[in-house]
């Protein structure tokens, strides 16, 4: 339950919308029940009056009030339904947006070391299934439960007014049992399984992806069949458990409905006592049981909603885990270095996760305006070192003082957006002229000047196809655009052919004047011009 708390708080921030939506739901439900109950009352009343008339007695009956009431209920039911749907779906979409933005902000405040290890497919399922479980929490669970409580209380009140205390108490008891059974009862019977299922699905997804990624090796070894059979057994167990939950939900639904029907029967039976002793009229006797039958509409959705509660908790739990509530900056803030230097690292110890340290007692001083090359073969841990120097991951010992830094990571990251938007990440204030200049630096100005959309060219899967080298150069351009006085470039020219690399190096000579640069690469030829080179030996 506690894992839902932050999300519930978020949902209830829109309490105004939630109450209006709930009110519309209430109006719709009450109109439906009122329509039937009033019609039942009306038919009984007219039947009795009809009998009197047939017997030749005088009977007067007001046809217009109930007739008008019936028409009114029919109308409010229809209009209420429409408004309720439109309004509540709007709320759900707003909540979807709230949850996503919140999730993103949380992730953004989490250091990278906490959110490693989720594949794209896993993220996608987080975003569709897990967020979905939360954004419908109000419409599926909270609203119907509140509605059931309110309408049940109204029914008890009605019984108190029209019938007597004893019947009201009986009704309250039966409806109370139905409410507890359909909510907490369902929860108790399905919570664990539903939670287990939700986590089991994640595991199954990992396994199936492994199966597909290793398909060639498994096929060669003649093991695809066995491995697939193993997966099928898991999937079968999974489906069996799901069916078990479904069955339990079905029975809970049926029993809840039975309790509602029983409530109607008990009220009818007890009401006859009052009717025969002349305390209530026939039409009034009919009114309450018929209204009660209409309660099934709201009670019917409760077991299903509570049956998914375990899964919802698991979803919330996963989302919480991905973005630990560790408030802070995504990157580590560093202190100002002494005058004349751009970066000073003292007694630095660096390691990847909990692996053995890659560097110990690493000391480095980079002067302002100095261009330093760090060379080491791949696997020597230079990217881990670069991450630590740039403040992306913490060093497990030692201190780093550095100027504001712009860092080109080893992997190229471009967004599904325009070229301009991608570049502006480096410096949101940059003018178009500046963008073109930096594109010239990386020898891409001509390439994009010939595109019809120029700076507005859409990058990414649905847009212009970039080669690996072109993407790398855009990422480099973005870093160059940044006004930061210290640049850390990890393998800046991956995938860039050597003639282009040479031209870019020449262009950079002037541009990088006055900036401190730490360039890392597998060899000196993979780096821009440097003043000195340090060879890393892990």
């Amino acid at each position: 339950m506690h894992e839902l708390a932050p999300w519930l708080r978020l949902i209830f921030q829109r309490w105004g919308r939630l109450s209006v939506g709930g009110l519309l739901l209430l109006i719709t439900l009450l109109s439906g029940m009122g329509l039937l109950a009033l019609s039942g009352w009306f038919i009984t009343e007219t039947a009795l009056a009809g009998l009197l008339l047939a017997a030749g007695a005088q009977a007067s009956i007001n046809l217009y009030t109930p007739g008008g009431g019936i028409r009114l209920f029919a109308l409010t039911r229809t209009v209420g339904r429409y408004l309720e749907r439109v309004y509540n779906h709007d709320t759900v979409l707003r909540q979807l947006s709230d949850i996503r933005t919140r999730l993103f902000r949380q992730l953004a405040a989490t250091p990278r070391s906490h959110r490693r290890g989720l594949s794209g497919a896993q993220w996608l399922s987080r975003l569709t299934r897990d967020v979905d479980a939360l954004d419908t929490l109000y419409l599926r669970l909270i609203a119907p439960t509140a509605l059931a409580v309110v309408v049940s209380l109204l029914m008890v009140l009605l019984a108190l007014i029209l019938f007597d205390t004893r019947i009201a108490l009986w009704l309250g008891l039966l409806l109370g049992i139905a409410l507890l059974y359909s909510t907490i009862g369902t929860l108790a019977r399905t919570r664990q399984t539903s939670r287990r299922l939700s986590d089991g699905e994640e595991r199954l997804r990992t396994h199936i992806i492994e199966h597909l990624e290793g398909f060639a090796e498994l096929t060669a070894a003649g093991r695809t069949g066995k491995h697939a059979a193993w997966l099928m057994r898991q999937a079968h167990g999974f489906a069996k458990e799901q069916a078990k939950v479904d069955r339990r939900l079905g029975w809970n639904q049926a029993l809840t409905h039975l309790l509602i029907n029983l409530a109607a029967i008990v009220v009818l039976w007890a009401g006859f006592g009052l009717f025969q002793s002349g305390q209530i009229s026939g039409p009034v006797l009919v009114l309450l049981p018929i209204a009660l039958l209409g309660l099934a509409e709201v009670y019917a959705v409760l077991p299903e909603a509570f049956g998914k509660f375990g899964a919802t908790e698991a979803s919330a739990n996963r989302l919480n885990q991905d973005s630990l509530d560790a408030p802070g900056e995504g990157t580590i803030q560093a202190t100002e270095p002494p005058n004349g230097t751009a970066l000073v690292a003292t007694e630095l110890g660096v390691r990847y996760d909990d692996c053995p340290p890659i560097f110990m007692h690493f000391n480095l001083t980079v002067a302002r305006g100095e261009h330093l090359g760090l060379v080491g073969h791949s696997g020597s841990g230079k990217s881990t070192l670069a991450d630590a120097l740039a403040g992306l991951s913490p060093a497990f010992q030692g201190d780093i003082a550095r100027l504001p830094t712009s860092y080109l990571t080893q992997s190229t990251v471009l967004f599904e957006d325009t070229l301009k938007a991608n570049l502006l990440v480096g410096d949101p204030e940059a003018s178009d002229t500046q963008l073109w200049r930096v594109l010239e630096l990386v020898e891409l100005a001509e390439r994009f000047a010939s595109e019809p959309d120029q700076l507005e060219t859409w990058l990414g899967s649905s847009g212009s196809r970039l080669s690996g080298g072109e993407a790398r150069r855009i990422a480099l351009a973005r870093v160059l655009l940044s006004p930061a006085p210290l640049l850390i470039l990890d393998e800046p020219f991956t995938g860039v052919d050597s003639p282009t690399r040479g031209r870019i190096c020449k262009n950079l000579r002037y541009w990088l004047k006055g900036k401190a640069v730490i360039a890392l690469g597998h060899g000196p030829d993979a780096l821009p011009d440097t003043d000195r080179v340090i060879h890393l030996i892990a």
Binding site: T46, A47, H89, L96, F215, L255, S378
Partner: protein, 548 residues
């Protein structure tokens, strides 16, 4: 869709039968209630004499609950079968199409189909299909009953009956639109979100996370507004259904009331009693209820159809990929100790044959290097020898058997590891390997130093999600699998491409050991050290093959 769930009709009809029982007991329940009111209120019969009726009423609601429970039970069973069945079918298609065809698709996407799309079929088989039949049967039963009570009232209901297909179309169109819109919005937003999350480190580095969050918020708000425009129209359909249902009840109630007062002088109204009047009223909502339930389940149909269509189209695409199996190479005269390719032709696309009339033979124990420009057919040749693709013409025999009919070692360009320990990873292809064999294999692949840094040796986790292993280490893990399984034939696609020098040395050393052990090695490479390792180097270029 029928193709996917054909074996499960039994359970589905079971669910329908249970639904009909539920429906009939509801009719009985309403009849008894109307009867009780008629006798107790209309004829003022003492409540004691009504006891049998109350008992009957109790029985009816119990049967109703029982039917309801049985219906979901059967439905759950039906969808359980469908899901397992469809997953098995997907596996069969995967197996039939082989690694090469499968490699064209992203594993995440295929996994989503196998898991999520199949899950989406549940609502269709468990809820929508049975309800579709029930929405026909139950209203018909009610109509018949009402007809015997008062034909005019039945006519009123019947008048709305031709409107029912109209409802359905409206509801259907609405629901479909709603669903499409919803999914589109979700997937667009997910795509944007995913993109931003993937690049989160970059955004953090440039201090742009706040700006990105605002962009996300404004974009999802814009999508919401567009979606709501459509939804406002789509929801009209449910309003229409609600309108007809409420209006029918209101009109029937007023007709019956006036009829009972004797104000209606035409038709069967003068025969109305409290019993028949009340019963017709009670049945009216039951008449519309199955339709309403159906419209609620309509989105199940829409999402299942979408999911099913994707599954089937993938199956078709995979099916066309390359038919495997059905080798004709079982003849006895194939030599047991050599590999033969006779006049092999292969083309993926009509206009561009990869190979035509390609012939090659070499002995068991040979170490063959394939070299040549990329796109020249090196990988295709390896795929042919592996049996991953079947030649369009000619025949291939490996040690006298069709390729792929026995276990062999395969090393692709990406290493493959599963969550679990080192031992789990090696036993994946050789479940009966001893701990000692596993350690030896890991040593042979040069992973000993890494292993020694872990506490539990081969039983320690290979770092979850593979983050702790570099690409080279992952490939060496795959190589260790080949060592432990002791295959006669080993095929390797660019075994040293993109490796750091450390891993490169280990891989070359390992291949050397394998070659010395008399294994048949065939690999594609540009690497000089590997070319010297081979005792025969073949140049593959433009589908031609010659000794280099």
């Amino acid at each position: 869709m029928a193709e996917l769930g054909k074996s499960n009709r039994r359970w589905m009809y079971g669910a329908v039968v249970a639904g009909v029982v539920t429906g009939i007991s509801a009719l009985v329940q309403m009849t008894i209630i109307a009867l009780i009111v008629h006798r107790g209120v209309g004829e003022a019969v003492p409540v004691r004499e009504l006891s049998p009726l109350f008992l009957g009423l109790l029985a009816a609601v119990c049967v109703r609950a029982l039917g309801q429970g049985m219906q979901t039970r059967m439905a759950a069973r039906c969808s359980e079968h469908v899901r397992c069945d469809v997953r098995r079918q997907i596996h069969q298609h995967w197996n039939a199409s082989g690694p090469v065809a499968l490699g064209h698709f992203s594993a995440g996407e295929l996994a989503r189909e196998w898991l999520d799309h199949v899950e989406a079929l549940h609502g269709y088989y468990a809820r929508f299909l049975p309800q579709l039949l029930l929405a026909l049967i139950i209203p018909s039963l009610i109509l018949i009953l009402v007809f015997t009570l008062d034909w005019l009232a039945a006519l009123l209901l019947l008048l709305s009956a031709p409107l029912i297909p109209l409802f359905m179309a409206l509801v259907g169109m609405g629901a479909e639109k709603l669903n499409q819109q919803h999914f589109q919005t979700i997937s667009r937003l997910s795509g944007q979100f995913l993109d931003k999350v993937r690049g989160l480190t970059t955004l953090q580095l440039f201090g742009q996370t706040d700006a990105a969050a605002s962009v996300l918020a404004t974009r999802s708000d814009a999508y919401r507004r567009i979606t709501m425009k459509t939804l406002r129209i789509a929801f009209l359909s449910s309003a229409v259904l609600e309108f007809f249902a409420s209006m029918a009840i209101a009109v029937i109630a007023i007709y019956i009331g006036f009829g009972l007062l004797g104000y209606i002088t035409f038709g069967p109204a003068d025969e109305l009693t409290l019993f028949s009047g009340l019963l017709i009223l009670l049945l009216a909502p039951e008449f519309f209820q199955p339709l309403r339930t159906l419209s609620q389940h309509y989105h199940d149909r829409a999402s299942a159809l979408g999911a099913g269509a994707e599954i089937l189209s993938r199956m078709n695409r995979l099916g066309r990929g390359s038919p495997r199996g059905g080798h004709d190479g079982q003849r006895e005269d194939k030599p047991q100790d050599s590999v033969l390719l006779g006049a092999v032709g292969l083309c993926y696309r009509q206009e561009q044959p990869i190979f035509s009339d390609l012939s090659l033979s070499f002995e068991k124990g040979d170490c063959i290097a394939l070299t040549g420009p990329s796109g020249g057919g090196k990988s295709s040749l390896l795929h042919l020898l592996a049996g991953f693709v079947v030649p369009d013409e000619g025949s291939i025999s490996v040690f006298g058997k069709p390729p792929g009919s026995f276990s062999f070692g395969w090393l692709g360009q990406t290493g493959f590891l599963v969550q679990g320990s080192w031992a789990d990873n090696l036993r994946l292809t050789r479940p009966d390997a001893s701990d000692i064999a596993i350690e030896t294999a890991l040593t042979n692949a040069g992973l000993r130093p890494l292993l020694e840094s872990r506490d539990a040796g081969i039983h320690s986790q290979v770092s979850e999600d593979g983050q702790g292993l570099s690409g080279g280490q992952a490939r060496r893990l795959s190589l260790a699998r080949i060592f432990v399984a002791d295959y006669d034939l080993i095929l390797l696609d660019e075994p040293t491409a993109g490796l750091d020098t450390d891993s490169e040395v280990h891989v070359i050393e390992a291949l050397h050991k394998l070659a010395e052990a008399g294994k048949t090695l065939i690999f594609s490479t540009h690497h000089q050290a590997l070319l010297t390792l081979a005792n025969r180097v073949l140049l593959v270029s433009d589908g031609e093959l010659r000794d280099a």
